[in-house]
């Protein structure tokens, strides 16, 4: 491993002066389970403007299509007895292929895996099937069946409109329909290069096996290590709302704005502590969860984020290799019944204001810091996760993530956290994404700003009823021309 490279964040690399050899992240050991995590440093942000979805479809053709010498069905037949499959993930800056095989089957598996990544088949029937699958993911799985994930993606699209991050990672239906096999081939040729490759491997493989892998992947075009420079997202003025009209039982919210902080930033650890205190993912320890769900029973949970975390309703920990040079701060308010929708939004904004004004108390700080210092151990329980985090650390130019976080936390003070909150977070100049039925009615309620008093099915402590009096009239400065309503059928088209 080239030590020089480990010290320079890949997201800042200037390129020309550095060698373009592929990088390998190796976790050898004696485990009979061999894990592959193969990352190319290109993703949806490299999609052509008229063909959003190309990076996603290219990766699908590799992981779920045939190779030059084998059809998809032939690959499935060979993989099935070994119980292996290759999966792919596409984010803005990274495309990741993962697979785990038992060492008994390593050679047989690898010979096929190698061909899938290095000699794709680009068959027309694979393209037709995977194109349909991608369109159905956007139209049915995301738009039709998952209001929460839809809300999050609508928020990202609103924040990043006109920016290379402006599309969902799977693109848009009209773009996907335009993609040809030539587009796939040329995207592959341009982006699946040695310069862009980080190859992660873990388990009880032999040095000879690794040498073979290195030789094989040296057949990729060298490419150029070009700096990734992304423009800043546009400035947001005031409170902006994008409402998606949909026939649904409840109202889902996502609230957010861009932040400049990534893992490479000195303020990452302070903000990570603030986020854990405010809204640790799927945990009852976060402030939002406690105030909104536990005390008031408004919904199933409420959380906050400083990094992209898709599929959060299905998993308790984030997937690695979603690294980006820019992130957003986000609040995820799970669906609430329409009669309490306005109150819920007010409470969320009230809590955000409170976080910024008051920061963390000494106790809150010590709790969140202590929690994260240990919780970080749980993020890398598998070789697959360990490889993923190591690759992300290479991208950001930081040490091993566990060490980085623990060392940083040990030195951290409450003032560092509260200063970072004031510097990076805000309760204005942000987007609110709403998925709801009768958006016009909700919009009128927002704009009228009348009190939205809460009624509960049980007595509440005075602390809550007193706070509710403030929250029910909490002013969110909506402006009529900054609240837009779009029919769900238009999203991702």
């Amino acid at each position: 491993m080239n030590k020089l490279l480990t010290l320079i964040p890949l997201l800042l690399l200037a390129g020309a002066a550095l060698p373009a050899a592929p990088r390998f992240v190796e976790l050898p050991g004696d485990s009979p389970l061999i894990t592959f995590r193969v990352v190319f440093l290109r993703g949806a942000a490299s999609d052509p403007a008229d063909k959003p979805g190309l990076a996603r479809l290219t990766a699908s053709l590799l992981s779920d299509g045939g190779s030059k010498s084998m059809t998809h069905n032939q690959i499935v037949d060979r993989f099935f007895p070994m119980a292996v499959h290759v999966s792919s993930q596409v984010d803005k800056e990274m495309t990741t292929f993962t697979a785990v095989t038992h060492i008994d089957n390593l050679n047989e598996f690898y010979s096929i895996f190698r061909a899938m990544l290095l000699e794709p088949g680009w068959r027309a029937d694979d393209l037709k099937r995977l194109r349909d699958q991608q369109i159905n993911f956007l139209r049915v799985s995301l738009r039709g069946n998952n209001d929460e994930e839809l809300g999050k993606e609508v928020l990202y699209q609103a924040i990043y409109q006109g920016h290379p991050y402006g599309w969902q990672n799977a693109g848009a239906v009209s773009g996907i329909k335009r993609i040809t096999r030539d587009d796939l081939r040329s995207f592959y040729r341009a982006n699946y290069t040695q310069s862009n490759l980080i190859f992660g491997i873990g388990g009880g493989y032999s040095p000879e096996f690794l040498a073979r892998v290195k030789k094989d992947f040296a057949s990729l075009p060298e490419g150029e290590r070009v700096a990734v420079k992304r423009p800043a997202p546009h400035k947001i003025k005031g409170i902006r709302v994008r409402m998606v009209e949909k026939n649904t039982r409840s109202v889902a919210y996502s609230i957010g704005f861009p932040i400049s902080v990534t893992r490479a930033d000195p303020d990452y650890i302070p903000l990570r502590v603030a986020q854990s205190y405010f809204g640790q993912h799927r945990s009852s320890i976060g402030r939002l969860y406690q105030r909104m769900r536990e005390k008031r029973g408004l919904n199933y949970g409420d959380y906050a984020y400083i990094e992209y975390f898709p599929r959060g309703m299905f998993q308790s920990q984030p997937d690695p290799n979603l690294a980006r040079p820019q992130q957003i701060f986000q609040m995820w308010i799970r669906p609430v019944p329409p009669p309490v929708a306005h109150f819920t939004l007010r409470l969320a904004m009230f809590e955000l204001n409170k976080l910024i004004d008051d920061g963390l108390s000494d106790r809150d700080f010590e709790n969140a810091r202590g929690y994260l210092s240990k919780y970080v151990n749980l993020l890398t329980q598998t070789k697959n996760a360990e490889l993923g985090y190591a690759i992300d650390s290479l991208y950001y130019g930081i040490p091993n993530y566990n060490t980085y976080l623990k060392t940083g936390l040990a030195k951290l003070t409450r003032d560092d956290v509260n200063r970072a909150i004031k510097k990076h977070l805000r309760a204005t100049d942000l987007w609110i994404a709403v998925i709801a039925k009768n958006c016009e009615q909700l919009k009128s309620s927002f704009l009228a700003g009348e009190p939205s008093p809460m009624k509960y099915n049980s007595p509440k402590p005075e602390e809550i009823t007193t706070e509710d009096k403030i929250v029910e009239s909490w002013k969110i400065p909506f402006q009529a021309d900054a609240v837009e309503i779009i029919p769900v059928e238009k999203v991702f088209e």
């Binding site: 050991g29 349909d132 039982r249 406690q290 536990e294 151990n377 329980q381 697959n384 099915n457 049980s458």
Partner: protein, 447 residues
């Protein structure tokens, strides 16, 4: 930068899995210690050699199957929520405080036959966690106000689940297919019952007293632990828990006498779904029915199956196809699910699935294909056991059914014994028209 990482050797895993060129004969390869306490509580400790982390899963053999009274569907799941509402000694805030100090991840889930509470944490905290869990299982204490508030969170969970057409499909399918057995309702429960939950405080106390008892509970501890120490801790904190006396009288499902159908008009655009279900078999590690149905689900409908290749890959009329055959205490449904790209193809897809099931009845399967399925099952099980949490989580459903990891070895040995004739015999027994329920769902866009 530490990219050449510390190497650790999972000795037990290597010993069992790395030998030979075929998957291990003993499916659950880890050594474990099993301890029974006088009050009926059982402890299973699996030292794993994955360093630092410990996974604790407490399995209560109670689920929506135990909801025998009318109007009480969804209660096992609701009660899972209530278990996080604290005790006198550790009210929710104090409980959360301990979790914060330990950096633990914890949650719970409920299904037909079990409720599982799981916590994953650093090894030095084992004593505190076992004490904390013992406290809530024995001394749970919540007021009516907290109860009513939590009922709203459950409704919130229903609301977020309600966006998925497959949730609705399963709800209708079970309601249609079962007449008497409690598998008639899903674990979430009927919406009317969920709305009624806030008024069921008294019943909730009764539910706790019936089912949260040591004889229904097994503690699994997997990870970087000493079994003797874990045993001593469980003895110290859990021995005072009293054995109960309640026994469930779960109504038996009478044989279905005619094919049934139902249709759902989904409120918004979605692709059509079809579910074709048959009354299936109960879990067993001695009788071949359920393992054979399991194998049949792969033979017929896995992505390597002929029908999948035909409908999904070649004809491209279907984009999702699978069979679902869960391991349950009592016979559940063997269900084939297909998402169809065009509504006009739904009858064709239905007929293709029915023809495939008929084929299983009419002729024995290819022995080579059967061997491939058995190999797949062995390897996929081995590949899943790659960390302590996964090991504990894999054990939990089996422990809910038989209270011992040994059932895994027995059931995998049984898979190995399944012959092409068994597949034919079991298909003939279960895939009968009169035991069938078909539910279709269509959305706006495809109409």
């Amino acid at each position: 930068m530490a990219l050449m990482f510390r190497i650790f050797v999972p000795l037990l895993l290597c010993g069992a899995l790395a030998l030979g060129a075929s998957p291990p004969r003993k499916a659950f390869p880890w050594d474990y210690q099993m301890d029974d306490f006088p009050n009926g509580l059982r402890l299973i400790t699996v030292p794993t050699d994955f360093p630092n982390v410990v996974a604790l899963q407490i399995v209560v053999s109670t689920g929506s199957r135990n909801e025998v009274e009318p109007g009480k569907s969804g209660f096992a799941h609701f009660f899972e929520h209530m278990m996080f509402r604290g005790t006198k000694r550790f009210p929710p805030e104090a409980y959360d405080q301990v979790i914060k100090e330990m950096g633990a991840a914890r949650n719970a889930y409920t299904t037909d036959d079990r409720t599982v509470f799981y916590t994953t944490f650093s090894k030095e905290d084992i004593g505190r966690i076992i004490e904390l869990e013992a406290d809530r299982f024995q001394n749970l204490d919540y007021g009516e106000a907290a109860f009513k508030t939590e009922a709203l969170a459950v409704l919130g969970e229903y609301n977020k689940n309600s966006q998925s057409p497959t949730q609705k499909l399963y709800e209708v399918l079970r309601d249609k297919a079962f007449d008497k057995h409690t598998y008639k309702h899903t674990t979430m429960g009927f919406l009317d019952d969920i709305k009624e939950m806030p008024h069921q405080y008294e019943y909730s106390r009764k539910f706790f007293s019936r089912w949260y008892r040591p004889e229904y509970t097994t503690i699994i501890v997997a990870g970087d632990v000493e079994p003797a120490r874990v045993k001593a801790l469980v003895k110290k904190y859990w021995s005072g828990w009293q054995h109960g006396s309640y026994k469930a009288d779960i109504p038996a499902e009478p044989p279905q006498k005619e094919p049934r159908t139902a249709h759902i008009d989904w409120r918004s655009p979605t692709l059509p779904w079809i579910a074709i279900a048959y009354k299936g078999a109960a879990y067993s590690d001695t009788k071949k029915d359920q393992v054979t149905l399991d194998i049949t689900s792969f033979l017929g409908f896995d992505s390597s199956s002929d029908l999948y290749k035909k409908l999904v890959i070649d004809e491209q009329k279907v984009d999702i196809l699978y069979a679902y055959n869960p391991d349950r205490v009592d016979p559940q449904l063997f269900t084939v699910m297909a998402r169809v790209k065009k509504q006009e193809d739904v009858p064709y897809v239905r007929d293709q699935v029915l023809a495939k099931l008929k084929e299983f009845r009419d002729k024995p399967v290819d022995p080579k294909r059967l061997e491939a399925v058995k190999k797949h099952l062995r390897y996929s099980f081995a590949l899943a056991l790659d960390n302590s949490e996964a090991i504990a989580a894999t054990l939990a459903p089996y422990v809910a059914l038989r209270r011992t990891p040994e059932t895994i070895n027995k059931v995998y040995a049984l898979y190995d014994e399944v012959t092409p004739e068994d597949v034919q015999r079991i298909a003939a027994k279960y895939f009968q028209k009169d035991a069938r329920t078909i539910v279709t769902l269509t959305g706006g866009e495809s109409k």
